[in-house]
Subunit: 429 residues, 2 copies
C-alpha cells in the first residue's frame, strides 16, 4: 500500500490504488455485520452511570426544601433547588432558569412556535405576521435544528462555521441589515458535528450584535456544556456575561439538558434567559401546561447534590467516551491523513467528529458503508434542507457502539472513504 497523498498521485498510481482499495472494500463488505455510527446516542454503559437516579427512597421525593409537594400541580418554572443546580451549571441565577421537561429540542421547538404565533418579549408582533422569516445556520450544524425551520417554512441561510465559531462578519452583516433574520442556531461548545468551541471574540461579537429586527433571538444550544472528555476542557465564555456589558441579555435563549448526562429522554431540559424573557415566556407557557415533572427534578437534585456532582459524574462519562474518540481519531490519522483526502477537527468533547472529505464524496462514502453493513448519518444531514453544497461532510458518532464494533466500523469507513475519494479523483484524472 502506497502511503502517499492521493492528491499527488498520477493516474496510473490512482488506478493501482483503486484496484487495491476496491478489493479490500469487497472483502470487508462480504462480512455480514450490523454496525451503526449514525446518531449521538450514549452507550448503555454510560446510562448505567445514572442508575442511582432510580431506586431513590420515595420518602425523599415528596416535598421540596420549601415544602412544595412535587407530586401535585404547580411550580411551572421548576422547583427552586433544581433551578439553582442548573443556574450554577450555566453561571446564572434562579430567576433566569426554566426547568422544562426532558427534551431541550422540545423547548427550542416550542420557543420557535411561540415566537411565530405569539411573538417574543419586546417584539412588536409575532414572527408569523411579518412575512418571510429567516434563520442563520452555521454549517455544518445540527440536523434537528434545521428540521424545525424547515417544518415551519423558515428560510435558512448557511453561515460557515470556522474553527473559532460562525463567520461573525457574515452573521453581523446579515443580522444587522435584514429585519427578516429572526434567529441563529448555535451549538457553542463542542459543536454538533464539528466539535468547534466558539472563541471569546466570537461570543463577544454575538453579544455586540445590533439586530435590524426588534425580535431577533440567538438560540444558544449549550448541549455539550459539560461533555469534555480530555483532561483540559474547552473554555466557553458565558454569553450572558458578554451580553451584560452590551445590555443585550434579552437577545439570547440558552438551552441545555441532561440527555447525555443522565438519561436520554428521561433526564431534564433547561432553558435560560434574561429575567424579562423568562417572565414573558412563563406567561406563554402557563397556557401550554401546568408544569413539568418535578419528581424527576428532585431525583436529579438528590443524585448530583450540587454542580460539582455533575462535574464528577461527567468525568465518568469521559472515561468511557474518550477511548472511542481516540479510536476514531487514531484510525483516521493512520488511514486517511497520509492520503490527504480529508480533514477534521480533533474535538475535546461532545459527541461527534465531522469528517470533511473531497467534494462529491460524502454521499458515495455513506452509500458504500451502508452496502457493507455500516449505517452513518445521511450525507447532507448537517446542512439545511439536507443539502451539503460540496457533498463533503460526514458526521461520525462514536459513542453508541462498543469499542470492538466501533473499531471495525471506523476501519470500514476509512476504506469506503478512500474508495469514494479515488473514484472522484480518477474521474478528474
Amino acid at each position: 500500500m502506497i502511503m502517499k497523498s492521493y492528491l499527488d498521485m498520477t493516474k496510473e498510481e490512482l488506478q493501482a490504488e483503486h484496484e487495491l482499495v476496491a478489493k479490500e472494500y469487497k472483502e470487508l463488505a462480504a462480512i455480514p455485520r450490523d454496525l451503526n455510527m449514525a446518531r449521538g446516542k450514549p452507550n448503555p454503559v454510560q446510562l448505567d452511570l445514572s442508575m442511582g437516579l432510580l431506586g431513590q427512597d420515595p420518602a425523599g421525593l415528596i416535598v421540596t426544601r420549601k415544602g412544595t409537594d412535587v407530586r401535585n400541580y404547580g411550580e411551572l418554572a421548576g422547583v427552586d433547588e433544581c433551578k439553582q443546580l442548573f443556574a450554577d451549571l450555566l453561571g446564572l441565577e434562579q430567576k433566569n432558569i426554566i426547568m422544562g421537561g426532558q427534551s431541550s429540542l422540545n423547548l427550542m421547538y416550542d420557543a420557535v412556535v411561540k415566537a411565530l404565533l405569539l411573538g417574543v418579549y419586546k417584539g412588536s408582533k409575532p414572527w408569523g405576521q411579518q412575512g418571510t422569516v429567516k434563520f442563520l445556520c452555521p454549517v455544518p450544524g445540527y440536523d434537528r435544528h434545521f428540521a424545525i425551520c424547515e417544518a415551519f417554512g423558515i428560510e435558512m441561510i448557511n453561515v460557515p462555521l470556522l474553527p473559532t465559531g460562525p463567520d461573525m462578519d457574515m452573521v453581523k452583516q446579515l443580522v444587522e441589515s435584514d429585519p427578516a433574520v429572526k434567529g441563529i442556531w448555535c451549538v457553542p461548545k463542542y459543536s454538533n458535528p464539528s466539535g468547534v468551541t466558539y472563541s471569546d471574540d466570537t461570543v463577544r461579537a454575538f453579544a455586540a450584535l445590533k439586530p435590524a429586527a426588534d425580535d431577533f433571538r440567538i438560540f444558544w444550544d449549550n448541549a455539550y456544556i459539560v461533555h469534555g472528555f480530555e483532561a483540559e476542557d474547552d473554555h466557553l465564555l458565558n454569553i450572558f456575561d458578554a451580553c451584560k456589558e452590551q445590555g443585550s441579555e434579552d437577545m439570547v435563549y440558552e438551552f441545555a439538558s441532561t440527555s447525555k448526562v443522565t438519561f436520554s429522554g428521561a433526564g431534564l431540559a433547561v432553558m435560560a434567559a434574561s429575567e424579562g424573557n423568562v417572565k414573558f415566556l412563563l406567561k406563554q407557557m402557563g397556557v401550554q401546561t401546568i408544569g413539568y415533572d418535578k419528581i424527576n427534578q428532585l431525583r436529579h437534585v438528590h443524585f448530583f447534590g450540587d454542580v460539582n456532582g455533575i462535574y464528577a459524574h461527567m468525568k465518568k462519562h469521559a472515561a468511557i467516551v474518550k477511548p472511542k474518540f481516540d479510536c476514531v481519531l487514531h484510525t483516521l490519522d493512520k488511514e486517511i491523513a497520509p492520503r490527504g483526502i480529508a480533514h477534521w477537527i480533533r474535538p475535546k468533547g461532545g459527541y461527534f467528529v465531522a469528517y470533511e472529505g473531497l467534494d462529491g464524496t460524502a454521499a458515495r462514502c455513506v452509500a458504500l458503508c451502508k452496502e457493507a453493513g455500516l449505517v452513518l448519518t445521511p450525507a447532507g444531514a448537517p446542512f439545511p434542507y439536507g443539502k451539503d453544497p460540496h457533498d463533503s461532510v460526514i458526521r461520525i458518532a462514536p459513542t453508541f457502539p462498543d469499542l470492538p464494533s466501533l473499531a471495525a466500523a471506523v476501519q470500514l469507513f476509512c476504506v469506503a472513504a478512500r474508495l469514494a475519494a479515488l473514484e472522484v479523483l480518477l474521474e478528474k484524472a
Copy 2:
C-alpha cells in the same frame, strides 16, 4: 331561620332574612382562615396512593419487553406495553395511541399549534392560513381549554351544555355550515365543571357530524374517564366506535392522563386518534422531540400491571373523594336547595360541582368568600374570555382540602351564596 324559598318571599321577609344572613356572614368572616376550593387538585392522601410508582427496583426500569433500553433515545409514540395499557383503558388499539409526556393539556395545546401552523391529516392547509378560526365551547367548561383559544386569537362560540351533553342541534348547525369552525372542546365524562356525562345519542351525534371544514377536529378531553366515585359509574359510549359506523374516525382527537390517577404533573398523558391521524401527528412530533420519558411509562406499567390495576387503584381514590363530594352536596341540599336560589347536577365522578345560582350573583359570592378567607375559582372562569353571560356559575372543587376544612368552606360558601342572592332579590323587590 325561615326554610322558605327566597323566590317566594315578600320584600319584608327578604329584608329580615338578609339581616340574619348578613350577621351570620359577618361572624364567619371574623374568623381568620385560609380555605381553598379553587382548583381541581388531588389531596396529598390521594397522591400517597401512588407512592408504589416510586422506589421500584431500578433493574426493572431498563428495558421493555421487546428489549428497548428506555434510558436511551427513541420510541416517539411510547413503549408498546404502555401504549397497550392505555389502549385497553380507552377501548382502542396500540396503533391509535401516542404516549405524550406528562400533561394532556400540553398535548392539546400542541395539537392546536400544529393544526394552526402545519395543518391536520387530510386538511387542505394550516388553520392559520385560512383567516378566522372558530372553536365551539360547551359552557360551562374548562378554563384552560378556553385559554388556549384565547392565546391564539381563536374565536370562541358558547354552546349550552345540557344534562345530556352539548346542545347537538346547535353544534351540528354551526359545524356543518361554517368552514371556519375548526374544533370543539369536550370533556365528555364528568364534565369540568358541571359533572355531566354525554349521552349515547350525543356521542352518536358527534360521530355523525359532516363538518363544512375538511380539517375540523373534536377535542375529546376524557380527563375523568376512570374518575367515578359512586358504586355505579356513568356510561360513556366510545366515540371511536360510534365514528366507525360513520367512517368519521379522523375527526376525533382523544386525550387522557394520569394526572388525577397517579401524580399531577409527574404522571402520563396520552393522545388517541385514528391510525391516519397518529401517523401524520407522529411525523410532525418527530420534529419537536426525539421522545418522551419512557422510564416513567415503564414505571406506570409495573405499578398497574394492566387496566384492571387502574380500575382497582381508582376505587381507592373514590373512597377518599366521595365523602368530600357528599359533604358539599349534603350542605348544598340543606342550606341552598330549600331556598330555591341555585341548582346543580349531582356528579358521580370527576372533580367539580358546578353551582348555578341566580343571575348576577356569582362574582359577588366569590368576592364575599374571598373576604372571609375562602378562595374559589374566579367567577366567569368556566366561560370563554372569563365572561359568564349570566354571572351565575361557580365552580366548586372539593378534593384538595381535608374534610374538616372543606366542611367549613362549604358552610361559609352557602352563607355567602345566600347573601349574594338576597342582595339581588332585594334590589329587584
